[in-house]
Amino acid sequence: MSSVHIPSAAVAPGSNGNLAKVGVAALFVLALVAPFGLYPIFLMKALCFALFAAAFNLLLGYGGLLSFGHAAFFGGAAYIAAHTVKVWGFPPELGIIAGTAFAALLGVVFGWLAIRRQGIYFAMVTLALSQMLYFVALEAKFTHGEDGIQAVPRGHFLGFLDLGDTYSMYYFVLAICVLAFWLIYRTIHSPFGQVLKAIRENEPRAISLGYRVDQYKLLAFTLSAALAGLAGSTKAIVFQLASLTDVDWRMSGQVVLMTLVGGVGTVFGPVVGAFILVTMENYLAEFGSWVTVIQGAIFVVCVLTFRKGVVGEIAALVRRGKGEQPSEGGGHH
């Protein structure tokens, strides 16, 4: 078998109609008022990672391609955004666009190379390519080595909205994320998304039906890379920092973990997973490298007992409650 089978819960909100719409509306309202109750910086971090994980999930959950090198797009874009804004004086929105464009371009190149191999080889190729970018970032002049690019000015959005203000920054980030989530949602439910799922389920069959599988994979990879870059550039503006942590292989692992915890192949899973892990990191920060140990333990537990993730398990429960047959690996949209 050449393609990768992810036992996805494949629960799109579309399948549960109105309930999901209410859920999305409630989430949106919650996101609007959240900064008045919770620490906005924490929320922005969680949003950036939610977007990063959602971008990653687009590839793994719907294309069945496990990339172990998404830190390259996240961190690479962060460097470009930080550099263009700080050194070249770009306004923040242009810096983010530049970072995203860079990630998309990188995605085309990496994707073009990586889709030549399947399964675990694909994962290893992406990991190796992203490590190459790590070394470039380590040695290039403009990335400033261990220091990273610090004190990136947040600037003014479109020249008038001062992003130095925490609340303006928050709503700016929220707007970017909502737009990106909408794009991901539309992609998943487009004919393109359906073909992608078909490739995930049975690649030889998709080929025999006349689909140019590689083109679909490459497009999905590029889109996922660009969105991961969008998350990375936004993060660089919010935290005014781009550093080696962003391109490290552990960052690639972290986004895999977020998606796994939340639920691979579910629309909300990556968001939930990102919030869980960012919260955890926040509370465990004082324990230093125990965070790594705990993350590793969560990986192990997830793989052994909890493969559907939080959202996937809940969706399975809901479906069982309704007396439907649990569907493995196939969506019903």
Partner: protein
């Protein structure tokens, strides 16, 4: 001697030797990965962490028990190999029926746990292991270069280990069972061979290889919790280049890439960290299945 392409021969051969030594480690580690992958269908992400544990075991034995290099070279692989057996029994054997990717994720989690624990206790800076036996101290002047004995020993030891593994798998009865089980585990089981136990022991053996590489590495590189993750990603690239089809392939590509890396250090040092990845990209373009791999 006459400088070659403007490079003094001492520098050239010195880097060639360094490349050979790095290549020796790439070969041993990718060999272990290939052996494990053959039977378990798992890419052992924890391989780097277990290599690091092998080095640490040697250092701890010296530090706490006064056990020297030669005993450690045997004891550490046995100890870490036994740890590998426990890992297989408690975790890995639960996921063989799942997609291969879960094996990667599970062992990635294990690698994080192991690395994190060692970082907690020993920090990120390295510990020096200086228990090289007298036999391996010093060096020889070969005329065109100075060869430190220990470094020569590492290359020789690696070749012995690689040849031994190749011989055990390709030329012995046990190895033939192993190869048969790789092809068709059910059939081999039907002939009365305990395949699950064979799988467990194979994992233990692969882990022991990593640990032995770790002990060999301890006197050269600093013994540090990060030494495993630094090398494992490069080894992954080596595996992608060589393909996991054959043992000989793993060894040749390991040494070959080590030498290429060493030569890059001479002629274009800026690229020495990335050259293996560049080679990987080129191989993917020209021969997507890897140099020694079978087409998927």
């Amino acid at each position: 001697m006459i400088p070659l392409l403007g490079i003094p021969p001492q520098v050239l051969f010195g880097q060639l030797l360094l490349g050979l030594i790095n290549g020796a480690f790439y070969a041993m580690l990718s060999l272990g990965l290939a052996v494990i992958f053959g039977l378990l269908n798992i890419i052992n992400f924890a391989h780097g962490a277990l290599y690091m544990m092998g080095a640490f075991a040697a250092w701890l034995m010296l530090d706490h028990l006064g056990i020297g290099y030669w005993p450690a070279l045997i004891l550490s692989p046995l100890l870490i190999g036994a740890f590998g057996v426990i890992l297989e029994k408690t975790f890995l054997h639960r996921i063989y029926k799942l997609d291969h990717l879960y094996g990667l994720l599970l062992t990635f989690g294990l690698a994080l746990i192991i690395e994190g624990l060692f970082r907690n206790y020993y920090g990120v800076s390295g510990q020096a292991y200086d228990a090289v036996p007298d036999l391996l101290k010093g060096g020889n002047n070969l005329g065109f270069m100075f060869l430190p004995t220990y470094r020569g020993w590492v290359v020789v030891a690696s070749l012995i280990i690689c040849f031994g593994t190749w011989f055990a798998i390709e030329r012995t009865k046990l190895g033939s069972y192993l190869r048969a089980a790789t092809e068709n585990p059910k059939l081999v089981q039907a002939f009365g061979i305990n395949v699950p136990r064979m799988i467990t022991l194979t994992y233990g053996f692969g882990v022991a290889l990593a640990a032995m590489a770790g002990v060999l590495a301890a006197p050269i590189y600093h013994v540090s919790p990060l030494m495993g993750s630094d090398i494992i990603i490069v080894v992954f690239a080596v595996v992608v280049i060589g393909g996991m089809g054959s043992i000989v392939g793993a060894v040749i590509s390991g040494f070959g890439l080590g030498i290429i890396e060493g030569m890059t250090k001479v002629f274009y040092p800026e690229a020495s960290n990335t050259v293996i990845f560049v080679v990987m990209a080129i191989v993917l373009l020209v021969k997507p299945a890897g140099l020694f791999g079978k087409a998927a």
